[in-house]
């Protein structure tokens, strides 16, 4: 053991996952309205700090490998932080911390006080799962964290039952579909283990070229890609997502919208580019032919479906499925610029969508409903919140100076680079999809500003503790729409690393 192993910073990779994991049972024991929340926020903020430190280290001195319990890989479990996983760690822990700032007053309205300890314990477990998936370098360990995340999220979504009983069926639906997805993934990993005799991702990747033509590997790749597609709600495996997002408590929707599906995209990128390698994925498996049509169908159909929603959370949820289509499109293009677009959009969409769901959370806090019909004239009743929603909506459309524009720029560049008929067609379809986004966002704008508030409705803003975090995300989205050196720089470097590693 190297001498510096004893210092705190060398233990950061394990700390990221272990802090929320250890905090969860403690949190379950806490009582009262504020203690569980404060404890969770501190744990999440600490994870954020550690993630940032890790990303800085990786950016300056290359990938970090950490041997769990001192067991050298491939026997022991290895934790790996490279640019992509470090980027995701920062994103997830950052969004979690921001959402938690919002949580204190919002949660009290939606969750019984007696269950707050358990609620936040489940929240911490979900956070553990997401961070763990990103940091682990072991394919089976991924499954473990995936289950930690999924099981706790079933519970969290079901907690929305106090405001709407349909949360229970939504959680159950997610449980069934999510389990199918996780099982598929596990079958895939099992097949790979059978062929390679190892679970370490780097090790599998090293041995992969020898066995990549075999039939079990073909089956494994199929299971893994489909399993992950279910987990990340790729069209047509998305049906669980709109229900879950609609009926979950406000902060859970905001948290998951920014992180849960992104973790799925991360895993897909990891397997396609690191494990299978670009060559096998796109010439052997011809994944482009499968993912590209699904992505396009996804963003077109889901944007169109979003237009007709009457519940604003559901509208945003369908929009999320559509935006996932963009991310999958980027990686399906199998080029460095496409992958850059994909990664940068993971980041951009997370910030924008979290801001949007938080502003919807503010509206729910005051009005007590997410249905558009109850939000007539909300622009005059809650001007600050609604203006935030409009600005976030512009980000979703991809107006310049918002991060959505940056993502779109790279996606279009990637599509044009592909050239040929398909590339130009994709550009046209992307533009059609953004115009659909204009329509579904403007439906809300028209309800908010052009309809008269119902009689007796008074001007009442959400409390500062909700407004400030919401606007933090809204302004943050504009910051990252203008100053793109962090998001684009990281995405470019990560994409180059992943493509070069093939």
């Amino acid at each position: 053991m190297a001498p510096d192993m004893l210092s705190m910073s060398s233990q950061f990779p394990i700390l990221v996952a272990i802090i929320p994991l250890m905090a969860a049972p403690v949190c379950a024991l806490l009582r009262g309205r504020n203690a569980p929340w404060a404890f969770t926020t501190i744990a999440s903020a600490f994870a954020f700090y550690v993630s940032l430190q890790l990303l800085l280290t990786v950016a300056s001195s290359g990938p970090i490998s950490y041997e769990l319990g001192g067991w050298a890989p491939p026997w022991g479990i290895e934790y790996v932080v490279d640019l992509l996983s470090g980027f995701l760690l920062v994103l997830i822990s950052g969004i979690s911390t921001g959402v938690l700032l919002f949580a204190r007053e919002s949660v009290v309205k939606e969750i019984p006080t007696s269950q707050l300890g358990l609620f936040f314990a489940a929240y911490l477990l979900a956070l553990t799962g997401m961070l763990g998936i990103c940091i682990t370098g072991d394919a089976f360990n991924v499954f473990v964290f995936l289950e930690i995340m999924s099981l706790s999220s079933y519970a969290l979504i079901a907690m929305g039952e106090r405001t709407d009983k349909r949360a229970l069926t939504a959680a159950f639906q997610y449980l069934i579909i999510g389990t199918v997805g996780a099982t598929f993934y596990l079958i895939g990993v099992g097949l790979i283990y059978m062929m390679t005799g190892t679970l370490n991702i780097a090790d599998i990747a090293a041995r992969f070229p020898e066995i990549e033509g075999t039939r079990p590997i073909l089956a494994a790749a199929g299971f893994i890609v489909i399993g992950l597609a279910i987990k990340l709600a790729l069209f047509p495996f998305h049906v669980w997502l709109p229900n879950s997002y609609t009926y979950a408590p406000s902060i859970i929707t905001a948290f998951f919208a920014g992180t849960a599906t992104k973790v799925g995209v991360y895993l897909l990128i990891r397997f396609i580019f690191t494990v299978f390698g670009v060559n096998y994925s796109f010439t052997g498996l011809e994944l482009t032919d499968i993912l590209l049509p699904l992505a396009v169908l996804g963003f077109l159909s889901m944007s169109a479906v979003a237009i007709y929603q009457t519940n604003i959370k559901r509208l945003l949820a369908y929009s999320s499925v559509a935006q996932l289509g963009y991310m999958i499109l980027g990686l399906a293009l199998a080029s460095e610029s496409g992958l850059t677009a994909s990664i940068v959009h993971i980041f951009n969409h997370a910030i924008v969508k979290t801001g949007l769901f938080l502003s919807v959370g503010c509206m729910f806090y005051v009005v007590g409903s997410n249905y558009l019909k109850d939000l007539d004239g909300i622009g005059r009743r809650m001007p600050i919140t609604t203006f935030g929603f409009v600005l976030g909506g512009l980000g979703l459309i991809g107006v310049p100076l918002t991060p959505g524009f940056i993502s779109k720029w790279y996606l279009v560049v990637a599509a044009l680079e592909k050239g040929s008929f398909i590339g130009y067609g994709l550009v046209a379809l992307l533009m059609v999809s953004s115009l659909l986004a204009v329509i579904y966002i403007w439906r809300v704008v028209e309800v908010a500003y052009f309809r008269d508030p119902p009689d007796g409705a008074e001007k009442e803003e959400a409390p500062m503790s909700l407004l400030v975090p919401t606007w933090l995300f809204i302004l943050g989205s504009f910051y990252f729409g203008i100053e793109t050196s962090f998001s684009v720089g990281m995405a470019k470097a990560a994409a180059a690393f992943l493509m070069g590693g093939a």
């Binding site: 512009l394 459309i397 991809g398 107006v399 310049p400 100076l401 940056i406 779109k408 720029w409 279009v412 560049v413 044009l416 680079e417 550009v427 046209a428 533009m431 059609v432 953004s434 115009l435 204009v438 403007w442 028209e446 500003y449 052009f450 203008i482 100053e483 793109t484 050196s485 684009v488 720089g489 470019k492």
Partner: protein, 501 residues
């Protein structure tokens, strides 16, 4: 006073600071309007302080922010943008005076929001005028669209909602659907989106691709209102008249045709377009728009709708000038931006003054009104004559240069088109004035005057003009139309450098 670069940056900062000032002083309307006026005067002085430097051939550039690797948001002043900024900023002062008269005279609600959006729209206009590359242009173009949406829908009723949908639908639809892909495509082809004299596409694109790109640009810049994507402009007329006057006769529409000129001159390059012949179709589309919009204008009884179609037709002059791709024609297009701005804003000011004074919007109701509002209608007459293109008014020069350009390009048919269009202008503008002065007011029948006798219909007692703040602005802009007739030469000399490679 400061370095040239500082003044360029200030052109964006002053209206934005003004917007904040308006927001802070919202509870005291008099102070709020003072803030608007002071801001507009400061902006105008600031813009004109850049002018001497540009005349000496300076090219001040300001880096705003590195938006994407290799593509930054930059401001760079060149003669064309200088001209546009000077026009927009000086008219903003007059329009601010007018806004005060109009908004107070009609007791409009939500005035603070109105002035804030107006200031932001002006800032965006300055950004468009001074943009140093396509991306910067696009950013401010979209800011302009979004900041004017609340102005268009100011009345918040069903009409405003419908008008707003068309406005936003067409402008955002074309810009995101066509303009943005064209920019990104240009970037992938040429590796840059900077505005460079002589164009950047030459050598990077074949004739076919050039044609497609030109199509994407021309229909992507929806603000230039080429048919058939002109519908947003009549729809925008639901806005209060000061908005129609400054934004939908000057800032927004001119931002559109200005972008067209910029793209043609600095992205494609005049010579490159002439070589490839890719702009041939554009000439005919512009010519068609020119005539068709004039014919539609003849059929409109609503004064603002007629003026809107007239604007569509007049904008097509600029596109026509750009598409002919000769230096004379492009000079004509650039002059048209200036001359039409002063002429058309006069007409809109008059329309608003009539509405404020007697609440009439239909031309058929305006019979005999000239006797009640002679100053307004004389200003209207001068503005009309300038738009028609009669000396000694500014508008004659732009028509003159376009004619020269058509001759230079050997396009005799286009000269006929221009001729017919001028006749149509007379047909839809002058009857308004003639009826106002020579017909008796509605509901009155004049006894025939026997032969040999004379009778004046004019009487001081009948005069009932709109408030001073509504009447003074059209008088000023009408006088400016006369003054511009003598200023054409300096303007042409200012923009000359960009026409001769």
């Amino acid at each position: 006073m400061f370095a040239l670069e500082t003044h360029v940056a200030l052109s964006l900062i002053i209206p934005l600071v003004g917007a904040i000032g308006i927001a802070i002083t919202s509870s005291a309307p008099n102070i709020r309007e003072t803030v608007t006026l002071v801001t507009s005067v400061l902006l105008c002085l600031n813009v004109f302080s850049i002018l001497p430097g540009i005349m000496d051939g300076a090219e001040p550039a300001v880096l705003l922010v590195e938006l994407l690797p290799d593509i930054a948001l930059t401001l760079k002043v060149e003669p064309l943008g200088m001209t546009f900024a000077a026009v927009a900023s000086s008219l903003w002062i007059i329009n601010s005076i007018y806004s005060i008269g109009y908004m107070r005279g009609n007791n409009e609600p939500r005035q603070t929001g109105f002035y804030i959006c107006f200031a932001i729209a002006i800032a965006a206009t300055m950004g468009v005028a001074f943009s140093g590359n396509l991306l910067t242009l696009f950013v401010f173009y979209e800011v302009l669209t979004l900041s004017t949406y609340p102005l268009v829908t100011h009345k918040k009723n069903a009409d405003a909602l419908k008008g707003g949908r068309i406005y936003l639908g067409i402008l955002i639809g074309t810009s995101i659907g066509l303009f943005l892909p064209a920019i990104i495509w240009t970037w992938t082809l040429a590796g840059t989106v900077d505005f460079v004299k002589g164009g950047i596409l030459s050598g990077h694109a074949g004739a076919g691709v050039t044609g497609v790109l030109l199509f994407l640009f021309m229909y992507g810049i929806g603000k230039a209102a080429l048919m058939p994507i002109h519908r947003w402009l009549p729809a925008a007329m639901v806005a209060p008249t000061p908005v129609s006057a400054l934004l939908h006769a000057v800032a927004v529409v001119k931002a559109g045709v200005f972008s067209v000129l910029k793209v043609v001159i600095y992205i494609f390059g005049i010579d490159f377009l002439t070589e490839t012949g890719a702009a041939e179709w554009l000439t005919w589309v512009a010519a068609y728009t020119l005539i068709a919009a004039s014919v539609v204008a003849l059929t409109k009884d609503n004064l603002k709708a007629r003026l809107a179609y007239s604007t569509i037709s007049q904008l097509a002059y600029v596109v026509l000038g750009a598409s002919m791709a000769t230096s004379m024609a492009v000079a004509g297009g650039a002059l048209q931006i200036v001359m039409h701005a002063f002429g058309k804003i006069t007409l809109f000011f008059c329309a608003g003054a009539i509405y404020t004074a007697v609440h009439k919007t239909e031309i058929s109701d305006m019979r005999g009104l000239g006797r009640q509002m002679p100053i307004t209608f004389i200003a209207f007459l001068i503005g009309s004559l300038s738009i028609i293109g009669l000396p000694p008014l500014g508008g004659s020069w732009s028509k003159f240069y376009l004619m020269l350009g058509a001759a230079e390009a050997d396009e005799i048919y286009l000269m006929i088109v221009l001729l017919v269009s001028s006749l149509l202008n007379i047909a839809y503008l002058l009857p308004i004035v003639a009826r106002a002065f020579f017909y008796p007011p509605l509901g009155q029948i004049e006894e025939p005057t026997p032969v040999g006798y004379e009778k004046s219909d004019f009487s001081w007692r009948n005069i009932q003009e709109a408030p001073l703040f509504c009447v003074l602005p059209p008088v000023l802009t009408a006088l400016a139309c006369v003054v511009l007739f003598f200023l054409a030469d300096p303007i042409v000399r200012l923009i000359e450098p960009i026409l001769t490679p």
